[in-house]
Structure formats: C-alpha cells, structure tokens
Amino acid sequence: MLRIEGLTAEIEGKQILKGIDLEVPKGEIHAIMGPNGSGKSTLSYVLSGREGYDITGGSVTWNGQDLLAMEPEERAAAGLFLAFQYPVELPGVGNANFLRTALNAQRRARGEKEVDAMAFLKLAREKLKKLHMSDEMLKRNVNVGFSGGEKKRNEVLQMALMNPSMAILDETDSGLDIDALRIVSEGVNALRGPDFSSLVITHYQRLLNYIVPDRVHVLMDGRIVRSGGKELAEELEAQGYGQASAA
C-alpha cells in the first residue's frame, strides 16, 4: 500500500504541495481531482522521483519502503508505474528495443530472469492485440511523430507489459477522443485485481465513468480538501471545484 503523510514540496522556492495525507490500500483505485495549478502533476512527479522538486517535509512509503529515498528506476522496479501526461519523444530509440530493455532492467533489479527477444515479441504482440493496437507501434521510434492519442496508448502498452502493482495516471485522459479513452481505460481495468492499485489524476469526471474509483480526493492549492466515494466526482462535475470543495 501507498502511504503519504504530511508531504510538502516546492519548485524553485515556490511551495506547491502544502501537506498531503493520503493512503491507497492494495487493490484499490483512487482518483485525485482538482483544478489546474492545484498540484496534481507535481504529486505524480514527486511520487515517481523526477528531479527539480524539493521535498521539504513529510514521508511517502510504498509497502513499508521509503519511496522518496529511491531512484526513479528503483521505484519502477518496485512496481510503481507513471503514465506521463506528456510522454517525451526519443528519436533514434526503437520502441521494441526500449520496451524490452526497460522490462529486463526491472526484472534484473528484482532478481528475475530476463526475457529474450523472441519471448518478448510474443508477449508484446499479445498485449498489443488485447489493446487493439497494431504491431507497427513496435517498429517506430519511441513516441516520435506519434499523435497525442498514440502517445497515450503507448503509455498503456508499456503499463500492460510492465505489469506494475501501482499505476499513477497523470491526466492520461487529456486530449483523448472517446475511442482512445476507452482503450486506455480497458488497459487499466485489465490490471484491476487484489494486487493492483492505482492513483488516477484527472481534471474531469469523464475518465471515471470508465475507470470507476473506490475513492475520490479533491486537491486544491496543494492540499486534499475533501475525500469521498465515487459520487463525489459527479458532484464536482455538477457544481465545479469552488462549490464542491467548500461543502
């Protein structure tokens, strides 16, 4: 389980997270909703270990381990997966090669046997098929020349391959049409189970029609101001953040 206590963080001296307390028990999917600038993306980056954020207080533990002390790749090997809001392009890096390198790096770190090229291809094709994606995806360079929707699908493909125990989805729904949204959601729902938890960060309630959360938290100005069941998302949609957070 993921436990966040009193987490504060700043960028270039500006405080963004002002004391976050949150627990995501094993097997649950939690949604974090909030307006632009509330600190949603900062939270996802701090959890995945991106540089440039000063953590000024609080703690984050992941299955009892001190998450903040771990390198990004260690977090990934420990089962944490971040689906990026803006996946970066990697010119010159083939997607298949990238996916296999990443998968094997994680397996190596966990002391598992590496997957050979043939086995990987088989696994990748299987996942692609499930996600209704073409094999072409593997031949291209990572995210280079991908449309917004294709980039997000590539994130979901990676998630399916890595099979993480915790997935953080950072506004994965932004810029997606209904079909893409459905594919992304199916990818997450396929992983759903007693050993998988997820933190779904979103601005809109729309995504939560497809990925139904166990809990919903409202993030405003660096703090969680309200928590509730899935009906909270509908309330937010109907009333807006101003009203709902004041309630």
């Binding site: 790749e73 990934a76 971040l82 970066v88 010159g92 990238f98 390198t101 790096a105």
Partner: protein, 423 residues
C-alpha cells in the same frame, strides 16, 4: 620565424634532400606539383589559428612533434584482422603493401602508375597540408574504374606500424569513376596506442556522369596520433559522392572535405559522427560548392564529447549563381557529456542564386533530462539510460550507411565507446 613555420621547416628541408629520389622525379608534371607544394608550405607554414579556416584547431603540437618520414618500408607486417570483403588494400605507414593485399581489378599502387595518374593530381590551391602532401607523397591507391563497372565493396586498411620515433606519412589516393561506375570503399585507419605519428592523406576523387562513389571512413588512429586528411571530390552530372566519416581515434584529427558539384543533378552526402573522449581534438570541416543547377546536398554531422575534449564542426555551403534550384540541407548537432568539453560550430551559407532551398541547423546541449527521466521511470538505470540516449543520438547520423561491410566496421568502432570513454 615563428614556431608554426619552424614546424614546416623540417618538412621542407627533408624535401630538398629527397626531391630527386621521390616517386615521379622523372615526370616534369609531378616535379612541378611537388615544387608548388613546397612553395605553398614555405609561404604559409603550417596554418595557425589566425587563419580563419583554422581558428578552432591549433597545429602547434604537429609543429612541435618534429616528425620525420620513414625512408624505408617497414619489415614486419602487423597481425591483420580478418578481411571483410573479397578485395582488400593494405597500407603500412602510407605505402601500399601488395603482399598483404588482395588488389581489386583496376587498382594499383600510385607510385607505380604516376604517369597515368599525374593528370588527376590536383594543385594545392594554397592549402598548406595539401602542399605538404604534394611535396612528400610516396604512394597511395590509384583506382581507375572504367565505364559502367560495378566494383562492389573494397576494404582499405591504413595501418601505422612504426612506433619508435615520430614519423609522418602522406599518402595520396587517386580515385576515378568513369560514367556509370559504382564503388563502395570502406576505409579503416589504425595505429599503435602510444605511437606519435602523422597521417596526412590527400584524396583526388572524380565521379563522372551517373557514377556513384560511396566512401566510408572509419578513423581509429592511436590515441597519440595526428590525422589531417583532405578530400577533394568533383562530381559530374547525375553522379553521387556519398561520404561518411567516423572520427573516433587520434589525439588531434582534422577531416576536411571539399566537394564540387559540377554538373546538373550531381549529389553529395557528407555525413559523419565524431566520438571525442578525454585528451582528444576532432575537427570536421567541409566545403560544398554547388556549381551547377538542380543539385541536392545533404549533411548530418553529430559530435559526442566526453572528458576534457574539443570538437569542431565547420561546414560551408556555397551556391553559385548558376546553381539554380539547389536543394541544400545541413544539420550539425553536438552532445556534451562532460563539464570540461568544448564544442565550436560554424555552419555557413553563401548564396548567390535566388531559386534555392537551403537550410542549416545546429544544436548544442547535454542529454535531455526529460528523456533521461522517462527512461529511468521505466526502470532503466541511469548509466544504461545515458548509453541508450547517446546511441540514439548517433543513430541518425549512421543510419544513412547501408552497406553491410561498412556497417560492421562502424559498429565495431562505436560499440563500447560509451563504457570505455564516457560512463
């Protein structure tokens, strides 16, 4: 006399002692070429940094090294790697070693064919290093492909064998493709790690109508060596000169290429990669002369710098008034992996024709932290992630090389560079 001119002085006095014994001494035209080279060198010395074309590359260490030419051929041949192609030409200290080579048809040591080749030896046009070569060259490859001949892939090994004292060799390579001929030349230059030597090759290349010359050069000289090479290629209508140069070895290396597109639809590709590690200086300087209409030219040069090193790219594209409908593209990119590395770039467009599409771009930077984080967030450790990104950076420059023998030679030079030099 300043230090640089003094450096040329040694070469000139040796020439004065040797001039009657050098190959071609009986040929008036060759003698004149050598004297002209000597005159250029006397007048200009080894170029100093006050010369605009040499502002980023200092030849003082060449002047200081007091090089001498090896007057006799080396006795023992070093162990050779397994051949990659059916035809292989081996040079030892700039001399064609026939007993170690499998010469292809239409190829010969230049020293034996000077009378036939002399008309193809271009003047130095005031370039001191070409002058030095003209003055002192003893041998080289003479390859004269007849019309329509497809010579396939030929491997060339340039091996520096001497290690006892600083030696210099100045091979002259003359390569002519008649109309429609095709050739791929894969050249590798190597030498002993600790040996100080100067490899100063000059290439006179003619590509006739519709001929295609793919020229891949892999420079892996010893780490105390100097290589100063000058290629001059003239390409006729519909012909293609396709050069790829990898600069990976040497202490101080300058790879200078001049291509003149002389007929309509002649094409030039001048791609390259420079892997520059601690203590190295690598300079790629190119000059592309669009002297005819409807010619395309493409150039991508990538430089990766580690340790205390310096990389230089100078690339000039001249579009003459007749060269209407020129399509020129040039990109040079540098990746800095160390706080002590320096990159200097001077891309240059000089355009006198209006109906043209010419562009150049240059970028300089470190590895992108966003890309690095993305890889690490997928579980790839930092060092491995950096190696992947460096490899990816080089891929774009290398991917134009399609000949499998060339690919293998490049792969051998590039693989493991990261682990050895930068990690």
């Amino acid at each position: 006399m300043n230090a640089v001119t003094a450096g040329a002085g040694g070469f000139i006095s040796r020439f004065e002692g040797l001039r009657d014994r050098l190959p071609g001494a009986e040929l008036e035209q060759v003698r004149a070429l050598r004297e002209e080279g000597a005159a250029t060198l006397r007048e200009k010395g080894l170029p100093g940094r006050r010369v605009e074309e040499w502002r980023y590359t200092d030849l003082a260490p060449v002047a200081q090294a007091q090089f001498t030419e090896a007057l006799t051929a080396v006795g023992e041949a070093p162990a050779l790697p397994a051949p990659r192609a059916p035809h292989r030409v081996v040079f030892l200290d700039g001399r064609l070693a026939e007993h170690l080579s499998q010469l292809p048809p239409h190829a010969a040591p230049l020293s034996a064919r000077l009378e036939a080749a002399q008309d193809l030896l271009a003047a130095d046009h005031g370039m001191p290093l070409v002058g030095l070569n003209a003055m002192m060259f003893e041998d080289g490859l003479f390859l004269d492909l007849p019309e329509g001949r497809d010579a396939g892939t030929i491997e060339v090994l340039n091996i520096a064998a001497h290690a006892e004292r600083p030696i210099a060799f100045h091979p002259r390579h003359v390569i002519r493709l008649a109309p429609g001929a095709q050739l791929t030349l894969v050249e590798t230059s190597t030498g002993p790690a600790g040996a100080t030597y100067l490899h100063n090759p000059v290439y006179d290349i003619r590509v006739a109508e519709g001929a295609t010359f793919t020229h891949v050069r892999v420079q892996r000289e010893g780490r105390s060596a100097f290589q100063l090479s000058t290629i001059r290629a003239r390409v006729a209508a519909g012909g293609t000169y396709d050069n790829f140069t990898l600069n990976a070895g040497g202490r101080l290396v300058r790879n200078e290429i001049h291509v003149t597109l002389e007929g309509p639809k002649a094409a030039a590709h001048m791609n390259g990669a420079q892997l520059v590690a601690d203590g190295q200086h690598a300079d790629t300087t190119t000059f592309l002369d669009h002297a005819a209409p409807d010619c395309p030219s493409r150039q991508t040069v990538k430089t990766v710098l580690a340790g205390k090193s310096r990389g230089v790219f100078q690339g000039k594209i001249l579009v003459r008034q007749v060269a209407q409908r020129t399509d020129g593209y040039q990109m040079n990119q540098a990746l800095l992996l160390s706080e002590e590395a320096e990159i200097d770039a001077k891309p240059q467009l000089e355009i006198y024709a209006d109906d043209v599409r010419c562009s150049h771009g240059a970028t300089v930077g470190a590895l992108d932290p966003e890309q690095l984080f993305y890889l690490r967030a997928r579980g790839i450790p930092a060092e491995e992630a950096r190696a992947i990104l460096v490899q990816a950076f080089l891929t774009e420059a290398v991917e134009g090389v399609t000949d499998p023998i060339a690919q293998a030679a490049l792969e051998e030079a590039v693989s493991g560079w990261w682990e050895r030099e930068a990690a």
